[in-house]
């Protein structure tokens, strides 16, 4: 059995050695930069002080995890993180697909490339600038309020309203990323065989029927792979945007796990505790990834493994 395996490996190596060499740098990259740092995650179970180092710090078991689960903010942080992620998914995921479908129907080349450029642009603006703009526009004297006042509404300091925070957060993310995200779908769309459309037209299908029966099935594999990838990073919400947009009056809806880690871990230098929270976050993430993959496997042909 073992010999057989060795034999097939050797045979494979002889045949495909160049491929193995090609994949080596990537493998090394992951081993060195992604796997090795994972070793540091053990400080979640230790009372880590930099002066003692990772090895010499004392083991404290699950204390950091119980502290987080018992924290008064645990429920709220989890809820906020999940809700923001889910809103981002529900509204943010279909947006680039819709944009790509719309752009695909545009026949005027000049208009198409202009529209594409305009929608890509926000992606290249630094987050600091984007949040600065949002903050300024949301002031009682800002652009958003000018529009609200024009429509007869009452001026309101928008970023002070806990109820509006998620809308602002998700809408601005969509605005920033929709054009960039549509690129991959546009390329998928360009790969659809035009004979299919001709055939559909001959069968008497209108634009809408063509969309439902030709275009969407054709790009479905791309959509599903993108969805699974997105699910894998669902809970990995960076703290940067939150830190730049939130304030104590919106903590109720805005405070998420990663911003809490920032406040506790980096500002209070409680490394072990914040690692424990981060690890917990990643475990949820991994679970979500597995679940999506399983679902996708059941309902469609496409899956990661």
């Amino acid at each position: 059995m073992k010999q057989k395996l060795m034999h097939s490996v050797r045979k494979d190596w002889k045949k495909n050695w160049s491929l193995y060499v090609l994949v080596l740098p990537v493998l090394l990259f992951f081993l060195i930069f992604q796997y090795r740092p994972m070793y540091g995650a053990i400080i979640a179970f230790k009372d880590y002080t930099p002066a003692l180092g990772i090895e010499k710090s004392e083991w404290i078991g699950l204390e950091n995890f119980t502290r987080f689960f018992q924290s008064v903010y645990f429920g709220r942080l989890l809820k906020n993180t999940l809700l923001l992620s889910i809103y981002n998914l529900i509204f943010g995921f279909p947006a680039p697909i819709i944009l790509a479908l719309l752009l695909n129907e545009v026949r005027n080349r000049r208009f198409k490339s202009l529209a594409q450029t305009i929608t890509y642009l926000p992606h290249f603006i630094s987050l600091i600038v984007v949040t600065g703009m949002i903050t300024d526009f949301s002031l009682t004297t800002g652009l958003f309020n000018d529009i609200i006042a024009l429509l007869g509404g009452e001026r309101l300091s928008l970023l002070q309203e806990a109820g509006l925070y998620r809308t602002i957060y998700v809408a601005s993310s969509i605005w920033q990323e929709v054009g960039w995200g549509s690129i991959i779908y546009l390329s998928a769309l360009s790969g659809v065989d035009s004979q299919l459309y001709e055939a559909a037209q001959i069968d008497g299908a209108g634009k809408w029927k063509q969309l439902i029966h030709v275009t969407l099935p054709a790009i479905a594999p791309t959509i599903i792979i993108m969805l699974i990838l997105k699910m894998g990073t669902l809970m990995n919400m960076g703290y940067e945007k939150t830190l730049l947009l939130y304030n104590p009056s919106t903590y109720e809806t805005a405070d998420i796990i990663s911003s809490y880690i920032y406040r506790v871990g980096l500002l209070e230098q409680d490394w072990s505790y914040s690692t424990a929270i981060g690890l917990f976050n990643s475990v949820i993430n991994f679970g979500l990834l597995l679940a999506t993959n399983k679902l996708s496997k059941r309902f469609s042909e496409t899956s990661l493994w």
């Binding site: 992604q34 740092p37 930099p50 002066a51 002070q160």
Partner: protein, 540 residues
């Protein structure tokens, strides 16, 4: 085969999501993922001070230095310091805003610079005693006695400072940054438009009621946001003068009976919130209170949409006066005293910076090979010549002696290259920022160029605040760990609720419940820890 590749792919995906987590928490200290910034420390390790060699010195480069110098070693200040002591220094600076992260990376790396300038009192997890026990820095008692005549003399003459810079066990841990006089401690206070007051025939307000009258008058005369403070900036708002009027401080403080109390649950705090909520409703406080950052406050104070604010005499009042008088020569800001409830009574509570806050104090690390020279280098600042160098710079270049008093030269006050005074000063002195030396009050009188700035010192200082401020106590390492976890939860909750009460999103009828919630987060334990630490401090 296909299954295997798929598995590998899955593993890689997991890895990247997990790795993302550990990066967020920035736990790696092993060097693999350490960013470029650690390079200076590695360089330092390479030439780890053979006797007579360079002393490596790690510390923050202030924002008034960084526009003109990328390394302190290039400044005339450091050149003079090296020349006068005959000791060569190699400076290393963490990137602005990342001092704590860099500090932890260097510690994990293990090769420490000889001298590290840091807030060992507040920013070393577990406190200064723990830093000594962890083997990071040296206790300085013997070193002071052996090599440091200047600081020893100063501490003998100033027993109250001596008490502040020790741990409960009696260990010295750093060469401290000390504000040399109480007058230097009155750094934060209220200021408002004096020219408008005169126009409206009003006096500078001293009570809460008078403030209400003045702010209302401002509002009626077209000032859109009469009171416009940077409300979420903690170091400023911990000094909130309107809160002080109700006989409390925001955080931990010492009450009249000498007991430690927490401001956020007092009856006075409730009254404060009621007042603020009323003012907010009446439009006397800026409508965007929670999102105000310096840029916005800055713009509003200069263009006249705001009438009063809270801030520092130098970087706030000075900046606004300078920018606004260019357009409107009548523009005038005047400092207002810490208000009271009844007219004519002296303000009991207020805010004073501690003479020793732990900031920018230099410790000698256990990696230092040449303790004697490092100690002598640092001790120099506490002697007569060093004191002049750190506060006034080089005679003939940055200051002249006129009638025996140091006066900054024209190069400093009206820099030929157009540098602002603070930047010109920073090239020659550390007196206008901080560092391991005794700050001289004579610097302040010259740095505050305007009369209204000079007034702040006495107007803001007319309180009994130092009696109520907590001195630099040192909880034990276990206690401080417990403390930070309790205080963290409480502060988040208190700040969140404060804004809700002020905006009227939550009725003050729920105040009882709010107090109970804070207590259930472990407030009593935190009070106990602070009280114990204070008792130990008092018996030092």
């Amino acid at each position: 085969m296909k299954k295997k590749t798929a598995l590998l792919l899955a593993a890689i995906l997991t890895a990247s999501s997990l790795a993302g987590c550990s990066q967020n928490a920035s736990t790696e200290g092993t060097g693999t993922a350490a960013p470029e910034q650690t390079q200076p420390s590695q360089e330092a390790a390479a030439n780890n001070t053979p006797a007579g060699g360079k002393i490596t010195y790690w510390g923050l480069l202030s924002t008034t230095e960084s526009p003109n110098f990328s390394n302190r070693g290039d400044e005339p200040f450091a050149k003079a310091w090296m020349e006068q002591t005959g000791i060569e220094i190699e400076f290393m600076h963490p990137p602005t805003g990342q001092i704590k992260e860099q500090f932890s990376l260097i510690l994990a790396d293990g090769n420490l610079p000889d001298i590290m300038e840091y807030n060992w009192l507040a920013d070393y997890p577990g406190g200064p005693e723990k830093a000594i026990k962890d083997g990071v820095i040296l206790p300085l008692n013997d070193i002071f006695a052996q090599y440091c005549p200047n600081i020893t003399k100063y501490l003998a003459e100033n027993p109250d400072i001596d008490k502040m810079i020790k741990t409960d066990d009696g260990n010295y841990y750093a060469f401290p940054f000390v504000r040399g006089s109480q007058r230097l401690c009155n750094t934060i206070g209220l200021m408002l438009r004096g020219d408008l007051l005169e126009e409206l025939g009003l006096e500078v307000p001293t009570t809460i009621d008078e403030w209400h009258t003045v702010l209302t008058a401002f509002k009626e005369n077209g000032i859109a946001s009469p009171y416009c403070p940077e409300y979420t900036r903690t170091d400023l708002m911990n000094a909130d003068p309107f809160m002080a009027a109700f006989g409390i401080c925001k955080n931990f403080y010492i009450d009249d009976a000498g007991k430690v109390q927490y401001g956020g649950i007092q009856e006075g705090y409730k009254q404060y919130l009621e007042t603020m909520a009323q003012w907010y409703k009446e439009g006397l406080i800026d409508a965007d209170l929670a999102t105000l950052k310096f840029d916005q406050v800055n713009a509003k104070m200069i263009n006249g949409t705001a009438g009063a604010s809270l801030g520092f005499a130098g970087s706030y009042m000075g900046t606004w006066m300078g920018a606004a008088t260019a357009e409107n020569p009548d523009y005038l800001l005047v400092p207002a005293p810490y208000p009271t409830l009844e007219k004519g009574t002296a303000a009991e509570y207020g805010f004073k910076d501690s003479q020793y806050s732990g900031r920018a104090s230099a410790a000698i690390t256990t990696s230092c090979q040449d303790v004697e020279r490092a100690a002598k280098l640092l001790d120099y600042a506490y002697g007569e010549k060093g004191h002049m160098l750190f506060n006034f710079g080089v005679e003939g270049e940055s200051y002249d002696l006129i009638d025996g008093e140091p006066v900054y030269t024209q190069w400093i006050m009206e820099n030929p290259d157009g540098w602002p005074v603070a930047q010109a000063m920073s090239a020659y002195i550390r007196g206008n920022n901080n560092g391991p030396f005794i700050q001289d009050e004579r610097y302040l009188d010259q740095y505050y160029a305007l009369d209204c700035q000079k007034d702040t010192v006495d107007v803001w200082g007319a309180t009994n605040a130092d009696k109520h401020m907590l001195p630099p106590v040192t909880p034990t390492s276990d206690e401080s760990r417990e403390m930070s976890s309790i205080v963290n939860e409480i502060t988040t909750y208190r700040d969140e609720m404060a804004l809700k009460y002020i905006f009227g999103a939550e009725s003050l009828d729920t105040f009882e419940e709010y107090v109970q919630n804070i207590k259930s987060m472990g407030l009593d334990r935190a009070l106990q820890i602070q009280q114990d630490a204070l008792d130990r401090y008092n018996t030092r």
